[in-house]
Amino acid sequence: MTSPPPDETLTRRIPTDWKGQAMQRRIAARYRAERRFRLIGLASILLSAGFLAFLLVSMLGNGLSGFTRTEIAVKFDFPRAPMVVDPAMLEGGNADQVLAGANLPVVTAQAANAALGEGGDALISSNAWLTVRDAIRDDPSILQREAVLSLPASADIDLAAKSQGTAQAEAAYARLKQGGHVSRAINMPFLTASDATDPTQVGIWGAFKGSLLTMLVTLLLSFPVGVLAALYLEEYAPRNRWTDMIEVSINNLAAVPSIIFGLLGLAVFLNMMHLPRSAPLVGGLTMALMTMPVIVIAGRNAIKAVPPSIRDAALGIGASPVQVVFHHVLPLALPGIMTGTIIGMARALGETAPLLMIGMRAFIASPPGGVTDPATVLPVQIFLWSDEISKGFVEKTSAAIIVLLLFLLGMNSIAIYLRNKFEKRW
């Protein structure tokens, strides 16, 4: 429609001299930049992954031994032991009750002294009589005969067996070993028991179950609420001051220190609503409030990234806005939402501070039966153990960290599977 182009510069440049010296130099430079960029990317990944690997390796190095324990074989001559237990009384439901009064600690100590020489009772765990109790309860008939039981070694001996002990303990251990009394076994109680004060008796199951229940509550609340809020804000909310307010407060919640969520949980869930202290329910609720903003923010970004043409297409066929969102936008945004959920839940799983406020930094020796029972969670357990006096807790702490990381991997792999499944390019 208008005059032809002013081709002064154009003719000068036509066609671009791709083979010229200057261009070659330029291209070489660009390739160098490209390689640099790529290398930086690779280095970043390696650095991050390397850091993780380093952490993992040192955790494994410290913690793997926590999954095994040293046991000492001790011979018991029950008929001659200074105890009076009638096997008939063990039949009912109150075997523990009966055995508690049966003088078992003394029996055990004597047996140890007899088997291992004077001072032998110091070599086995001070709670070793519990193992004896369980053995009797499981098979009362051993009361009529002699039996050899494998008792957990004391923390000192256990450490010595793992060559971390004091000189004295190492010597004692060497003697035991010569006598053929010791063996190494998988520390099953570590996986099935709960907190205790003796490192040879502690278990992770209580905290694990606490984490499981807490995360369940967190997920069940934060995921739907987070996704729905993200959808509302991104797809439906009218752009006005109210929406801005919601948006700002969500973004801000993400920046609120976790300890403050703890204070909120304390004030609202415990003091106002009178929910039980130390309970996974309250922990989960608190964590859900903390995780939700992460899911909302990640979710909104993912929703934003769905091309408008797909919404147009669905609307053009007569899909309602709700259908557009639930049939098209949400499935396409799901990978991103999953990412938010993964990192939000990971954070919640590793979080300690808010739980200090709502009573989870506690000694809880039995696993919770439900979401309202007192419980602690893995990171708090780790935190507690890391502050324990006895050195036997060092490997247990690392072992607990390994369990936590396995938990994390398990939790994430489900989400990651879903994320990969839904990931689409367009």
């Binding site: 660009r30 930049a33 490209e34 960029f37 790529r38 930086i40 990317g41 690779l42 990944i45 991050s48 992954a49 850091f51 993780l52 739907p224 987070g226 729905l228 809020a229 509302y232 948006e247 969500i250 973004n251 801000n252 920046a255 609120v256 220190p257 976790s258 300890i259 403050i260 204070l263 909120l264 004030a267 609202v268 992460v294 909302v296 923010i297 990640a298 970004n301 993912a302 990234a305 091309p307 309602s320 990978p335 990412t339 993964i342 990192i343 990971a346 799983l349 590793g350 979080e351 300690t352 501070a353 200090l356 990171p379 780790i382 935190f383 960290i401 990381l405 991997l409 990651i416 390019r425």
Partner: protein, 476 residues
């Protein structure tokens, strides 16, 4: 009838309502069509447009199900929360109640033991007096739960009947159901507001008490944080200057940690989406995400025992003799590593959701991959990247344990990364878990710190929203 049973029953009724309302709507739809829809002619003949259903039959189903279940369940919730009080009132009418002790606590204990046994939650009474109340409790419980159950069922039937009368071809069931969905979405997003209000409320009271002891101006602009002075009779002036704490928070969380997390996270994301093979990406991305889940205590130990001494030695070797064994740098570096996944995963997602056509367009111009990333993909993915960075900063600001362990508790106002600094959250934890009296200015300061931090981040977010609004851009 127990609460669970009645809930299940109502949900079952909802299901029945769903099925029958849908069936009814389907019948209407059949009646409305001249030819049976089972044989839509592939021939170019438009389907007759008789009195077609406005909404799909399943929407009618949902409509009825909602009317059946929602009011009844709402009623049940209210009822269950009221019931214990009603039951106890009724039990107190029982003659046995006269024997109860006056002391409220043991009275309550006896009653609730009786209730626990009545509900089968306890086997035997700790206090024999409770046994007298087991039967009255059983009776009252039965009375009210049956009453509540009946009312709930009546509500369910009434709701169902109402919904059924409304099933007509032109009835806009979908609109109604969707309006409810919308309401649900709105409520979900309002939870954020409620939480915000809750946080402010739970901080405000104690903060006011704090500010009645300490001048807010001193607190906000004071540069000396020394809570020990307060307890030692120096008074509260000059003891609670929060500036060093806020500086420490920014220095560690927003500067040092970000200097680690942004480049590492962003470059990782770029490498994963653009260069790495898809199989590698599938593995590496979740591996990086593990970094976010390692408990902060673990990072804390690592920072305090491995990184911090190394930093100090390094600082001493380059001639900074004042280097502390606890340094902002150690805490910040480790924190940066921890939040890498916040940046990397979110950036990864938003980069990979930029349409392929954008990438093709750029590559076809003869751009290298890195040019494409920097000039086309990143700008297009910016909202997501910025979102990830903001989340990461937020996380860093709120982090506590690492700083407690590695950066120390000394409130220094310094630019020296090798010096020890402290953050707001660290102080909050220290103040709250120490063994001070709970209404001393020291402890109350924790709430004031929390409140101010909350307000500061809120203001920052308001500003950020304005900025983002201005630069918001969409592809296509």
């Amino acid at each position: 009838m127990s609460g669970t049973a009645i809930t299940i029953l109502i949900i079952g009724l909802g299901l029945i309502a769903w099925l029958s309302a849908r069936a009814r709507a389907l019948r209407l739809a059949h009646a409305g069509r001249a030819s049976p829809p089972s044989a839509p002619s592939p021939a170019p003949e438009a389907r007759p447009r008789g009195p077609l259903l406005h909404s799909l039959p399943s929407y009618h189903g949902w409509y009825a199900a909602i009317w059946v279940a929602v009011p009844a369940l709402l009623f049940l919730t209210v009822w269950t929360s009221l019931m214990p009080g009603l039951v106890t009132d009724r039990v107190l009418q029982d003659p046995a109640a006269a024997t109860l002790p006056q002391d409220a606590f043991s009275r309550g204990a006896i009653l609730s033991e009786g209730r626990a046994i009545a509900q089968g939650k306890a086997a035997a009474a700790f206090d024999p007096r409770s046994n007298a109340f087991v039967e009255p409790y059983r009776e009252a419980q039965r009375f009210y739960s049956i009453g509540g159950g009946v009312i709930a069922l009546l509500l369910a039937f009434a709701g169902g009947a109402y919904a059924f009368t409304r099933i007509r071809p032109d009835f806009r069931a979908r609109t109604r159901v969707e309006r409810l969905v919308m309401l649900g979405l709105l409520i979900a997003s309002l939870i954020a507001i409620i939480t915000t209000v809750g946080i402010v409320a739970s901080l405000l009271w104690e903060s006011i008490r704090f500010f009645s002891l300490v001048n807010p101006v001193d607190f906000l602009f004071g540069t000396k944080w020394s809570p020990q002075s307060a307890a030692l009779g120096y008074g509260n002036e000059n003891a609670f200057g929060a500036v060093p704490l806020f500086w420490g928070t920014i220095f560690i969380g927003a500067i040092i940690a970000m200097a680690v997390a942004i480049p590492l996270g962003l470059m990782s994301a770029i490498y994963l989406t653009q260069y790495a093979r898809p199989a590698a990406r599938k593995w590496l991305k979740p591996i990086l995400e593990v970094l976010a889940g390692v408990p902060t205590v673990v990072y804390g130990y690592f920072a305090a025992l491995t990184i911090a001494p190394a930093m100090r030695d390094f600082a001493v070797s380059i001639g900074i003799s004042s280097a502390s064994s606890e340094s902002a740098l150690a805490a910040g570096l480790v924190m940066g590593v921890m939040i890498i996944p916040f940046v990397s995963s979110m950036a990864d997602d938003s980069i990979s959701s930029v349409p392929q056509a954008m990438r093709d367009g750029s590559l076809a111009m003869g751009a290298t991959t890195s040019e494409t990333i920097r000039q086309v993909l990143l700008p297009a993915a910016l909202p997501g990247v910025v979102g990830g960075v903001l989340l990461a900063v937020s996380r860093a600001i709120g982090e506590t344990m690492i700083v407690v362990m590695a950066a120390g508790l000394a409130a220094n106002l310094t630019l020296n990364p090798f010096a020890s600094v402290t953050t707001v959250t660290t102080q909050i934890v220290q103040l709250l878990t120490g063994d001070q009296e709970f209404d001393s200015a020291k402890t109350l300061a924790a709430f004031a710190l929390g409140l101010v931090l909350f307000i500061v981040t809120l203001l920052l977010n308001i500003v950020a929203l304005q900025v983002v609004k201005r630069y918001r851009e969409a592809y296509e």
